[in-house]
């Protein structure tokens, strides 16, 4: 019984020995520990060894920072500060550039029309990134690089939110033929899209140059960027200077799709 009590006390003492050695125990527990050490030779011996280990740890010289420690460190810190400032400047300027670009890209994605004409995600992202911030209501990510014979490029503001129909031209059709325009029924509100994926591109900034460079057949599409934009016979100023009084045969014509159907706009589909 006494032995059991002693073991319990020894365990209790072992749990408190560090606080006892450090003088952090309250007087009551301290007195209990002292009494136990006095009555238990094993714990007394163990305490003495523990104190020696602690002394061993605490022994040894202390050192001071070497001469010039702070001076050298100060130099390194100032170099580090310069680096940090340079990094911050780069980040700030990158943010100033990227923030509007990101916003524009998000706006484009938001305004993308739904439907089967959507491009796959990857190509849409690529296209919108390549075109940069475009503010038009159309679908600029669907427009291929503007070419002189892109009939759709001549349409401007025909429909605030057109949902173009993609018509793939025949692969066997030579490109030179696309500029030839035989008799074509006169389409109304918007131009056809002979270049397949090309649809209404009413938002490109380079549209004016395209319009000036390409004579637009009046039979093809109404050109709607001048005062008389609803007139089907309206032509660009450039065309007006060069074109004869009689309407010139259109150079651009929408080509029939393999199924014999071509689309001019959302609501315009003609049987050829």
């Amino acid at each position: 019984m006494t032995e059991t009590m002693s073991r319990t006390e020894c365990q209790g003492f072992a749990a408190l020995v560090d606080e006892y050695m450090d003088g952090e125990l309250d007087p009551r527990l301290r007195a209990a520990c002292e009494a136990h050490v006095a009555s238990c030779p094993e714990c007394g011996q163990w305490l003495a060894r523990a104190r020696r280990a602690q002394e061993l740890l605490a022994s040894g010289p202390r050192v001071e920072p070497g001469r010039g420690f702070r001076l050298a460190l100060r130099g390194r810190l100032e170099v580090e500060q310069l680096r940090r400032r340079r990094r911050e400047r780069v980040i700030r300027s990158a943010a100033a550039f990227l923030a509007p670009a990101t916003v524009a890209a998000l706006v484009l994605v938001q305004h993308m029309p739904a439907g089967r004409d959507r491009l796959p995600e990857a190509s849409r992202v690529t296209a919108s990134a390549a075109h940069g911030p475009t503010t038009g209501p159309g679908t600029p990510w669907m427009a291929p690089p503007q070419t002189a014979d892109t009939g759709a490029a001549m349409v401007r503001g025909a429909d605030p939110a057109p949902v173009p129909r993609l018509v793939v031209p025949s692969v066997n059709t030579p490109r030179s033929r696309r500029g030839v325009a035989p008799h074509i029924p006169k389409p109304t509100p918007a131009a056809a899209s002979p270049e397949g994926p090309t649809t209404s591109s009413d938002s490109g900034d380079g549209l004016d140059s395209v319009l000036e460079a390409v004579p637009a057949p009046s039979v093809h599409a109404p050109i709607q960027f001048a005062a008389d934009r609803h007139s089907p016979s309206y032509v660009t100023p450039a065309l007006a200077q060069t074109a004869p009084a009689t309407p010139a045969p259109p150079l651009v014509r929408p080509l029939p799709a393999p199924d014999g159907v071509f689309a001019a706009g959302r609501d315009t589909t003609y049987e050829v």
């Binding site: 952090e24 740890l57 022994s59 920072p65 420690f69 702070r70 100060r74 580090e80």
Partner: protein, 203 residues
């Protein structure tokens, strides 16, 4: 502040620095203020260099590693969320820097134990040799302990801080300090007892 005054005095240093002051300086330093960080250096250089010296055993190495630790701290300070814990964080960075340094030296630390003991022979007296051997062993033992044990042992048994002061430094409760210290000492004693009996024979 004069170089001599850089926290090399025994124990009082960490406790004498008001935590709020350290925190305020840490906030300024986190924004890149070198003067504020310089002040933090002046408050902590003694502890950092001595901790490094305890772990490396060479004053020159300790200086180098302490500088490295301070530069790392300056760089990482913006990422320290609780700036009031700068002191504890700084000591952790120091122990990490010492560990990296020892690793870079290709674990010469373990060889260094024997080297240091043999090298201690030199022209020193028997007493000095004995002391150097002991220090080399203790250093070796400290290096085998987990980082948090090293720090708490250093703060209590080498810097002599009270439990309250350690709790403030480490940002934990006093009971947590007691637990950590108890475990750290147990781990140290298990390793140190053979040396204790050998180096400090019973009178």
């Amino acid at each position: 502040m004069a170089l001599e005054a850089i926290g090399v005095a025994r124990p009082d240093s960490i406790a004498s620095v008001a935590p709020t002051r350290v925190e305020a300086l840490a906030h300024r330093a986190a924004r890149g203020d070198v003067d504020a960080f310089d002040e933090l250096v002046s408050l902590h250089a003694g502890k950092v260099v001595n901790l490094a010296f305890r772990l490396l055993g060479d004053a020159t190495d300790a200086d180098d590693v302490a500088q490295e630790a301070f530069v790392k701290a300056y760089r990482s300070l913006p990422r320290l969320r609780d700036r009031s814990q700068f002191t504890a964080w700084m000591l952790k960075i120091t122990t990490n820097a010492c560990r990296d340094y020892l690793r870079r030296r290709g674990r010469r630390d373990e060889v260094g134990l024997d080297e240091a003991i043999n090298h201690a022979g030199g022209d020193a007296t028997a007493h000095v040799v004995e002391q150097q051997e002991t220090q080399a062993r203790i250093r070796h033992l400290m290096n085998t302990l987990p980082q948090k044990h090293q720090i708490v042992l250093y703060l209590r048994d080498i810097e002599g801080l009270s439990y309250d002061e350690i709790a403030t430094t480490l940002g934990c409760t006093v009971s947590s300090v007691k637990n950590r210290l108890h475990r750290a000492r147990e781990a140290f004693r298990i390793r140190a007892m053979p040396y204790v009996d050998e180096v400090l024979p019973w009178e």
